[in-house]
Symmetry: C2
Subunit: 243 residues, 2 copies
Amino acid sequence: MDMTDCAACPLRQCDLFTPFSDDELDFMAHFKSGELTVTKGTTILMEGSNSGQLFTILKGMAIRYKLLEDGSRQVINFAMPGDFLGLQAGVMGEMQHSVEAASDMTLCVFRREALWDVFRSHPSRAFDLTWISAVEEHFLGETIATLGQRDGLQRVSWALTRLFMRLRAVGLGTRKSVPLPFRQQDMADALGLSLVHTNKTLAELRQQKIATWSKGVLEVHDFDKLRSTGLVDENREAKRPLL
Amino acid sequence: MDMTDCAACPLRQCDLFTPFSDDELDFMAHFKSGELTVTKGTTILMEGSNSGQLFTILKGMAIRYKLLEDGSRQVINFAMPGDFLGLQAGVMGEMQHSVEAASDMTLCVFRREALWDVFRSHPSRAFDLTWISAVEEHFLGETIATLGQRDGLQRVSWALTRLFMRLRAVGLGTRKSVPLPFRQQDMADALGLSLVHTNKTLAELRQQKIATWSKGVLEVHDFDKLRSTGLVDENREAKRPLL
DNA sequence: CGCATTATTGAAATACTTCAAATACGGTGG
DNA sequence: CCACCGTATTTGAAGTATTTCAATAATGCG
């Protein structure tokens, strides 16, 4: 099988993540049951379903979202390489949101039953799982603060700043640009803004030579301006575990 | 010491929570290091701090919030009896939000080091911790959807519905009313609305004889109307673990 | 009783939405 | 390689929910 060896996993190199011990590495290789390749548009996990699998994103990006009763869609966040998918169904028995591939993707697949083994036999990795969950909570809290307290320009700047920082941290793009394969509609649904307003706000950032997002690529011309407009604080992201 | 025995803990009776096995009960009693009583207004946990303690709320309610760079405040959510506080600092090493008592409270206190014991020696309880974290994530996702997609009346109705359901589930209040010791400003900061608009929206719910929130008590006159206005679906809350 | 905090109400200002239509883009088949 | 079609982006203009400003009334605490 043409499967990336965990030992050779490029994500391990990113200093966004805490390093693996040899033991942990062994276990991950055992935990891993395969690799999945999906094309843009594929639904990876479905709200209400109880997938038998858990994933870590190796390549590509995805959209986590909820559909509301009235047909509108809320994008919860954007998932990137290194992100873990399916933990909710793993512990609660049911996904609370759907996940759709925004680009072609490669995913590391774990059997759900293996989750029990983690808790029974690898307490430090179980701890890491909870850690990952706590990190997720932290970002959701920040999102709530953004939707609740910031205006359109601040929201868009916040989102672009965070995406840029995260993508750079996993080694994507160049010094001032990163791939960003979403539609403006996705961004609008993430920020609770209308498509039209999102578009006009992006136009303003472009016109002010702060950032340009076009054809799937985000170019940041003035990072500090973008960051301060989005009210994102300067200090670097804390390390977190990778599964 | 005048401390509630875990075996006698009234929260265990609520069918919102999964039942305890005798083993689990034993462990919890061991895990518990004391009880804390605080008065309204006390800051229990502080953003950026690394508290040595974890808590389960036994009595009273609290506000989880973040202060933003520009001075505004976002209330992340309201914490009620049965909620677990401090897990973020426990695993990530630092709180990402503050927690302040909205009424006089009684808290069950756990030593932070005990968290390690849980993962090392009690895998099923460790699993529950992750479960609790996943439940938290679920609610934050729902909050994001509310702030992003719903208008003022829907937001207020959503919040009152959830609070009412949750408080009833932990045995508080009567059939149609529950204690709700927050200020309108707290609700406004939670929903991303101005105080004035929140007030006018509450006035409308009152005038329409749907719900009245006054002097720390929420009376729900037409639950189904409130629920449907807030676009909350009918199915009952899934059980979750209690720590 | 008096003071500080919280709730209430009216009116003006505005950020954002909705509607509508034009333009650009990307992929497909001829 | 070009023509075509569906999807995504862009722009203008009118409408509206919500904010902000400002002032009064009620509540609760020492």
